[in-house]
Symmetry: C2
Amino acid sequence: MSTFDLTDHSHRRYNSLTGEWVLVSPHRSKRPWQGQQEETQREQRPEYDPSCYLCPTNTRANGETNPDYDATFVFVNDFAALQADSPSGSFSKGGLLKAESERGICKVICFSPRHDLTLSDMAVEDIKKVIDLWQKEYLELGALEYINYVQIFENKGQVMGSSNPHPHGQIWAQSSVPVEPAKEMAQQAAYYRENGRSLLADYLQLELEEKSRVVLENEHFAALVPFWAVWPFETIIISKRHFQHLGQISEDEKVAYAKIMKQLSAVYDSLFQTSFPYSAGLHQSPTDGQEHPEWHFHMHFYPPLLRSATVKKFMVGYEMMGNPQRDITPESAAERLRSLA
Amino acid sequence: MSTFDLTDHSHRRYNSLTGEWVLVSPHRSKRPWQGQQEETQREQRPEYDPSCYLCPTNTRANGETNPDYDATFVFVNDFAALQADSPSGSFSKGGLLKAESERGICKVICFSPRHDLTLSDMAVEDIKKVIDLWQKEYLELGALEYINYVQIFENKGQVMGSSNPHPHGQIWAQSSVPVEPAKEMAQQAAYYRENGRSLLADYLQLELEEKSRVVLENEHFAALVPFWAVWPFETIIISKRHFQHLGQISEDEKVAYAKIMKQLSAVYDSLFQTSFPYSAGLHQSPTDGQEHPEWHFHMHFYPPLLRSATVKKFMVGYEMMGNPQRDITPESAAERLRSLA
Ligand SMILES: O=P(O)(O)O[C@H]1O[C@H](CO)[C@@H](O)[C@H](O)[C@H]1O
Ligand SMILES: O=P(O)(O)O[C@H]1O[C@H](CO)[C@@H](O)[C@H](O)[C@H]1O
């Protein structure tokens, strides 16, 4: 019998950041694919689209008119999942039916007035303006008494449920800490208590030594395929300095962060010669008035594509009932991405 | 200010079975949809398709020929994610990179020789044969010393990653207990320790009294939209009797189980006048040699469609970075399904 080898044999990997496991099946990528193909969006888009509800000067569904903005533009989501004026209350029955009211604010952020750009096309100084706005929103929303967590994210591409190709992201700010950051908080706090250091700082050091999963690196940030990646080409951007949130980032770090986001999305676009779809999101410390010395700023990229611009990985039956499963190793994914950097 | 109302105001619901939360935004279904539309598969399929690798007498990619089966047919997956002969071992570095080898067996189960059927078209007695086979496989695979958990599931429809419309499901049996059943085990065990009763038995009793989330019911099973449902039309089938796994089901219960599965899939099909896609899966007690008196047999249905045969719910940015979010209440989903029963 051969000896166990991460590149050849089925195994589970532990996600140190969430405490959960992922099943890795390195040999399975040979499977032929006869299933659903996604559409690619290859059409050239105009710089300005009169029918786009995010372009400058256009009127949205609710009758409001967008300003003639020249960098970024933020507004409260016209169909918000969370509302600031929800009455507070709770529901409970038999100990098994439990609900709690949730207050919050949902916003939309346009990254650029240009309808035809994505992060990979934008100038670093323009991406920096997006970071400036993320910072401002995180601090302002987080300062509200009833907001304890601020989730900033981007859905890019139709396959990721984005209904408008205009470059934009969202912010959902709310009273409770959602499930995923709560898991990360518990893991980071336990590590910090035990070691007095940041989990992600130690993890990043290991990765920068090993190099096999690193995709991009600059003075202040690194982008890598995490050891426990779920999505085929999933990456994480981690700050080299241990800080908790964008309220603490320096101007130099902002430029480095803008650069690495631009480069990463360009690498993604060149992988399958398509405007690469993904959901991306920042994980910052909760705004619950606590210190959170354990928290380490990072950003996840979850892209669905597996084999080509049209064949994605389906997280379905086994993945929903059991746990996530991947068909290529994080190391081989990182190698492919790195070769395009 | 109005008083908190589950049908009107944003809230979080607690999933007693997993210990996690879901965000519910009742008012959000009014949002217009301009995004991706799924394709529907409306074509009539032939009873036998010479190019289908699951039809009787056809040859599969690896050169094997299917028997001329007349009810069900099971074989080891030609592109299995888990393998029985993987060497055992583990990997660890710096306390933060951790992996363990995983042995297992993946099988494919054809539900019928007929290429053109789904569970909703099949006769109850033929669905019962599928349950017979699930029972046999659960017991045989579970009896293997290195198999501690058996996941039986079905991916139906292209949108759920199924690459072949021939009615079939899968079994992934493995050494470790995956993340989702592990969560359910912890919650069920805690409840059982505290109350000496099955969590799902008590939950089912509450639901049968309340009625608002119940879709179908017969002598031995009920199908309902769980209070904590994530997917728009998610349902769970729960056995009325508290038993752990299919090794303990009676012949009468098998017939009732076959009936409720058939009825539920017919209700689904009539909701949007389409062969309704979903991932479904049985959650049974682990086969780890322990008793598991806490475990209560049940089956989840996770269907992706939200508004029509072509518009699904996207679990993307916020859902991936925060937690699942739904746009209609479980009660209104149940009411619609019940009206079709
Ligand atoms: O085994 P299949 O049907 O080819 O594959 C399908 O189900 C598997 C188990 O849920 C998933 O891992 C795959 O992504 C999906 O396409
Ligand atoms: O708000 P949007 O872009 O209309 O909607 C998109 O992102 C949301 C947040 O991840 C999801 O809940 C929706 O399912 C998705 O379609």
